[in-house]
Structure formats: structure tokens, C-alpha cells
């Protein structure tokens, strides 16, 4: 079986990509309008919405970066997984009802549409759209680069494709992504999320079972090995320390409710009351998938410090090294397909919200009406992918710009959107002026600190800090400015 490892992995990835194409063709027939393209006709069932929520949240970072962080820092990054139950619950308490109701009331096609309905202010709509576009290009470029690197590495292991270049593997992977995103819009995106989420759960459970039996003494022996080398690494705060971990807890717990690619999914379910079923299903999906993050990172650290495996060249190799040396070839194939699934499910969500921001929100805010919005949405989706791919290629050869943008995408979204949407949609006293100041301040803090490479003491996450400052500004300025007059039905919905 071992000699067929690479063909098996290639077949699993190829089969997964073929499934994406089939879903794209099917979704094309169901996409009749721009409302279908952006909002899936607000007609999604419980399981599809729940899988879309959790698989969009867990990007390629969860399959590559997550295990790498655990290998490097011990337990620290596991707080990003531990927060899942509280984080998803918080998102549902704050968005499951009011965001969904407001989006239906305004027949909205995007998050900035709902923001306009709530604040009745075009500047707020444009600022949120700009925050989304900035985050989208950074995140999307990172996902495209990750997808291309993984595909190239798989293909160059085979004789037939041994000379595969990064550019060529980018063309192949982006073609699949563009095909189903352009043809089927968000319908293709959420139904591929269903396939992708299923693959991710199966892969994660099988990997965790493999991890449990890597050491004869199971998890206890694995953790004792790590503890003997460094007690802090297997303590609850890992090597980062307590304050850094708690800032991650806040960033991923509260900040999760400010991720536009995730919360827009909660605008698409058919019935508002489905929210109570969506919550447990999405939590279960994320928890199972999180097992891979934890398991691979810890077992690779234990294998290295016990001398059973040579030190990795880079922390991000933790997953690929484990799959190559300790996983059955069929399991490795499933996990590689799961990795592509994780990357693509996040990338297609970003494509969708980025297209909506460029094609729908900004023209609407400046009073331009786009004729044949569906056709232009498809063209824009293709163009965004091409621009993001060139950006990723350029940046991969010219420093770490993509990594920089990708790294603070989550923080950028959280700091800009949590005050305005998460709090603002649940607090009528919040004003448009306060919302505008909060978005601008959050973007400036994030950019200045990251570009200036300032370090924050005790490892406090800069996204968490800028989110707190933006929340403080939003609340304070709202109290000192004259209350906005809301439309009567909007005010009544916010009271529900």
C-alpha cells in the first residue's frame, strides 16, 4: 500500500475537486438572480447552514497553521479551539435572530446592506465595505497561496508532474475555485461547504484516533513526554503565557461574531427559528475538526522531543510530516482532500462577500445602479480571484506582505465589525457617527501596529486590543452624540 501513497493522495484530491465542479454545475442551474448569487435566495436548511458556518470558520489555518502553532508553542493556541462552544453560542445570541430578521426586513444582499438599514448612513455602509475588501484581499491571497503550495507539493512527488511550478498549480487550483464560485455563487459555495465540512470531520476524527495510538501509553504518555521537556508547554497557557492566551480567547470568542464571511451565512437560512438547531450542529462540526489541530501539533512535539522523529524544518510542516510518516495512505488522502476543503470553503466565502462589496455595496452607496447585477457579479468574482492570485504570487517573491495581511485579517474584521454590527445591532443607542469613528480607528490601529511592527507587551493580541478600543469609542461617542432616529419597523425588530 505504501508505494501507492502519492497516487492515493492525488486521487483523493482529484475526486474532491471533481465533486466541487459537479456542485458548481448543479448550483448554476439554481442561480437565477443576484439575490440567489449572494444570499442563496435565503432558502438554506439547518444542516447546510450549520456546515457552512463551521467550515468557513476553520480555514486552511486550522489544518496547517494550527498544528504548527501547537508544535511550536504547546497548549497556547488550543484556546482558539477551546473557545468554540462559547464563541458560536455568543454569535448566535447576538446574530442568530436580529441579523437574520433585519436582513429579511431590508431584503438585503450583503452585510453592508443591513448596516445601512440599521444606521441609515451611507458612510457607515462604505466603511464596512472597505473593511471587508481590505480583509478579503489579504485573506484570499493567503488561501490561494496555501492551496497552490500544497497542490504543487503533492504533484511534484509524482513522476508525471515532478516539474510542476507554483504558477501552474495556482492556475489549476484557482480554476476549480473560480469555476464553482462563478457559476453557482453562494449556492455552490454553501453546498461545497457541506461536502467540505463532512470531509473535514471524517479526516479529523480518524487523525485523532491515529494520534491516540502513536504512543503506547496514549495521550497520557504523549503529554508526559512533553511535560518532561518543558512543563509550561503542556500547562494551560503553553509557552505564550496567560495574558496572551486570554487575549486570544477574547479575539476568537467575541471576534468570531465580527467575521463577515461567517455571519453572512446566518442571513441565509430559510426560517429564523432554525437558528436553535444550527448552533449545536455547527459547534459539533467545529469541535470534531478541532481535534486534528490539537492532535497533530502535540504528537509531533512529543515525537521530536523524545527523539523518535527529527526536528521539523518549520512548524507548519507538522501536519504534512505526520501524514507522511504516521498516517495510513488512505487516511493521508482523506486529510489532504480535507485540507483543500478547508482552504476552498474559506476562499469561496471571501470571494462572495468581496464581490458583494465591490459590485453591490459601493455602487449602491454612491448612488449607481448596476444593470444585470448577476452577470457583473460573476465577472467580478473571476477578476477578484485573478487579482488575488497575482497579488499572492508577487508577494510570495517580495517579502511577507500576504502573510502580514492574512495574519491580521481576523483581527481587522473583528475590530471593525464587532462594535458596529455585533453590538450596534443589539443596542439601539449606538449612533452612525460612533460607528464610523470605530471602524476608522480600528483599521488605523491594526495597520499602524502591524506595518510599524510594534510589539505589544505580554503577547496581547493586537486585534483584541484594537477591538476593545473600537468598542470603547463606539459606546462613548454614542452616549455623547444625539441619538439617531431609527425607522419604526427597524426599531421594533431590534426590540424583538
Amino acid at each position: 500500500m505504501e508505494e501507492y501513497r502519492n497516487p492515493i493522495i492525488l486521487s483523493a484530491v482529484g475526486l474532491y475537486m471533481f465533486l466541487c465542479i459537479v456542485v458548481g454545475i448543479w448550483a448554476y442551474r439554481k442561480t437565477k438572480s443576484s439575490h440567489d448569487f449572494f444570499m442563496a435566495g435565503r432558502n438554506l436548511g439547518v444542516v447546510v447552514t450549520a456546515f457552512a458556518v463551521f467550515s468557513t470558520t476553520l480555514s486552511g489555518f486550522g489544518f496547517v497553521g494550527g498544528p504548527g502553532l501547537v508544535y511550536r508553542m504547546g497548549m497556547s493556541s488550543i484556546w482558539m479551539v477551546v473557545i468554540a462552544v462559547l464563541g458560536f453560542s455568543l454569535t448566535n445570541f447576538l446574530h442568530g435572530k436580529r441579523l437574520r430578521l433585519l436582513s429579511e426586513l431590508g431584503n438585503s444582499k450583503s452585510l453592508p446592506d443591513v448596516v445601512f438599514l440599521r444606521y441609515n448612513n451611507n458612510n457607515t455602509r462604505i466603511l464596512i465595505a472597505i473593511a471587508i475588501i481590505l480583509g478579503v484581499f489579504g485573506y484570499l491571497a493567503t488561501q490561494i497561496l496555501a492551496m497552490s503550495v500544497v497542490l504543487r507539493d503533492i504533484l511534484t512527488e509524482t513522476e508525471m508532474f515532478s516539474s510542476m511550478t507554483l504558477e501552474m498549480s495556482m492556475v489549476i487550483s484557482c480554476s476549480i475555485l473560480v469555476f464553482y464560485s462563478v457559476t453557482g455563487g453562494i449556492i455552490a459555495s454553501v453546498y461545497t461547504d457541506l461536502v467540505q465540512g463532512g470531509i473535514m470531520i471524517v479526516a479529523a476524527i480518524l487523525i485523532f484516533l491515529t494520534v491516540m495510538y502513536t504512543f503506547d501509553g496514549g495521550i497520557t504518555e504523549m503529554n508526559q513526554v512533553i511535560q518532561a521537556d518543558d512543563p509550561a508547554a503542556i500547562g494551560p497557557w503553553g509557552t505564550l503565557g496567560m495574558v496572551g492566551c486570554m487575549s486570544w480567547l477574547l479575539m476568537f470568542g467575541l471576534g468570531g461574531s465580527g467575521q463577515p464571511h461567517v455571519i453572512t451565512k446566518l442571513m441565509m437560512n430559510k426560517k429564523v427559528s432554525d437558528a436553535k438547531h444550527i448552533l449545536p450542529v455547527s459547534i459539533m462540526g467545529y469541535l470534531f475538526s478541532g481535534l486534528l489541530w490539537i492532535g497533530i501539533g502535540l504528537v509531533m512535539r512529543a515525537l521530536v522531543v523524545s527523539g523518535q522523529h527529527p526536528e521539523l524544518a518549520a512548524p507548519d510542516e507538522a501536519a504534512s510530516q505526520f501524514l507522511q510518516h504516521y498516517a495510513h495512505p488512505v487516511l493521508a488522502g482523506i486529510v489532504f482532500a480535507g485540507l483543500f476543503a478547508a482552504i476552498m470553503s474559506t476562499a469561496d466565502a471571501f470571494l462572495n462577500i468581496g464581490t458583494a462589496a465591490i459590485m453591490h455595496d459601493i455602487p449602491k452607496a454612491i448612488g449607481k445602479k448596476i444593470k444585470n447585477e448577476l452577470q457583473w457579479a460573476r465577472i467580478t468574482t473571476g477578476l477578484i480571484t485573478i487579482i488575488a492570485a497575482f497579488f499572492a504570487l508577487w508577494a510570495s517573491n517580495n517579502g511577507d506582505l500576504v502573510a502580514l495581511l492574512g495574519a491580521f485579517g481576523w483581527g481587522t474584521f473583528a475590530a471593525a465589525i464587532v462594535p458596529v454590527v455585533t453590538l450596534g445591532f443589539n443596542w439601539k443607542r449606538g449612533t452612525a457617527i460612533a460607528a464610523n469613528v470605530a471602524v476608522i480607528a480600528s483599521l488605523l490601529i491594526n495597520f499602524i501596529v502591524k506595518i510599524g511592527k510594534f510589539s505589544v507587551p505580554y503577547g496581547i493580541d493586537i486585534g483584541a486590543l484594537s477591538m476593545l478600543v473600537a468598542l470603547f469609542l463606539f459606546i462613548t461617542i454614542s452616549f455623547v452624540t444625539k441619538p439617531d432616529v431609527l425607522e419604526a419597523d427597524v426599531a421594533e425588530v431590534m426590540d424583538m
Binding site: 511535560q227 455585533t422 507587551p457 470603547f472 425588530v493 424583538m496
Partner: protein, 166 residues
């Protein structure tokens, strides 16, 4: 107030002089790994500030859930449940924190279900306690989160807006 308190604690933390290795240091042998540095719980001031920082972080999360549950300016039907779940979460956080402080100062190596005691608190209790919030959301959905009367009224509002737009 909680946000101001939180920012105040961060300000106080910025005024202390953090040990250079408080966020970990390069491992002596393996250059791709970090090794734990000086724990904040070894210093009296940073021990308190770190605990309060975590309390503010967990408290903010619970507070936002409560904000999301407010309906018509009230919390009547759901208040005791949310207070119970929030208090449980804050207690579990405190137990995790103090278990780790003891782990650092005494070097205890007892394990519970595969993990050192403080990590077991993190994995089993901090992960699982928020299930209470999930259960509240599921079981109080029709009683409080979105009643059938609210849903019917919402349909009227949507129809009225559609009629006005057409």
C-alpha cells in the same frame, strides 16, 4: 464600565516591566520550538493583573451574550439561567487559573484523564461549561429568544414594508 476596567488593566500591565521571556523563549535544543518563560504568577503584581485580565476577558464574553439576550429592554425570562451559566464559567476560569498557579509554584505533576490537572480544567471544564449557554439558547428559544408572537409580528412588518416599497 467593564470595557473601561479592561482597558485600565491593560494600561497597568503596560506600566509594569515584563520579564523578557514572559511570552516564551527559543528552545535550547529545537530551534523551531518555543520553551516556556517566566510565569506571571511568580510575581505578586502581575499575578493579580493577569488574573483580572482573564476575568475581564471571560466576563466580556458573558456580558455580550447577555446583551444579545435582551428583549424589549428586559431579560425577565432568561436572567437566572444566564447568570448561572456566566457565574459557572467565571468560576471554572478561576479554578483553571489557580490550579496553574499551584502547578507553577509547586511543580505538581498529577494527571487527570491524560492531562496535568490545570490543563485538564482547561480541556474538560472551560471547553464544556459554555454548553450551558448553548442549552439555554436551544431550550429557551421559543420562550424567550424568538416567541411565536414576535415571529408573527415580524411577518406583518415585512409585508408592510414590501407593500410600502411597491
Amino acid at each position: 464600565m467593564l470595557i473601561i476596567l479592561f482597558l485600565g488593566i491593560i494600561g497597568l500591565l503596560f506600566m509594569t516591566a515584563p520579564p523578557p521571556d514572559v511570552t516564551g523563549q527559543l528552545h535550547d535544543v529545537y530551534k523551531t520550538m518555543l520553551h516556556g518563560g517566566t510565569s506571571m504568577s511568580l510575581n505578586g503584581t502581575t499575578k493579580i493583573l493577569a488574573y483580572l485580565f482573564g476575568l475581564c476577558a471571560t466576563g466580556t464574553l458573558c456580558l455580550f451574550i447577555i446583551v444579545g439576550a435582551v428583549r424589549k429592554g428586559k431579560l425577565d425570562g432568561i436572567r437566572p439561567w444566564l447568570i448561572f451559566a456566566s457565574v459557572a464559567y467565571l468560576i471554572v476560569y478561576s479554578l483553571t487559573y489557580f490550579a496553574d498557579a499551584s502547578y507553577v509554584s509547586t511543580g505538581h505533576t498529577r494527571f487527570f484523564l491524560g492531562w496535568p490537572i490545570p490543563t485538564a480544567w482547561m480541556i474538560y471544564a472551560m471547553w464544556a461549561t459554555p454548553i450551558l449557554f448553548m442549552l439555554i439558547y436551544i431550550f429557551k428559544f421559543r420562550d424567550w429568544i424568538l416567541t411565536e408572537e414576535d415571529e408573527a409580528r415580524f411577518k406583518e412588518l415585512v409585508d408592510a414594508r414590501k407593500a410600502a416599497e411597491s
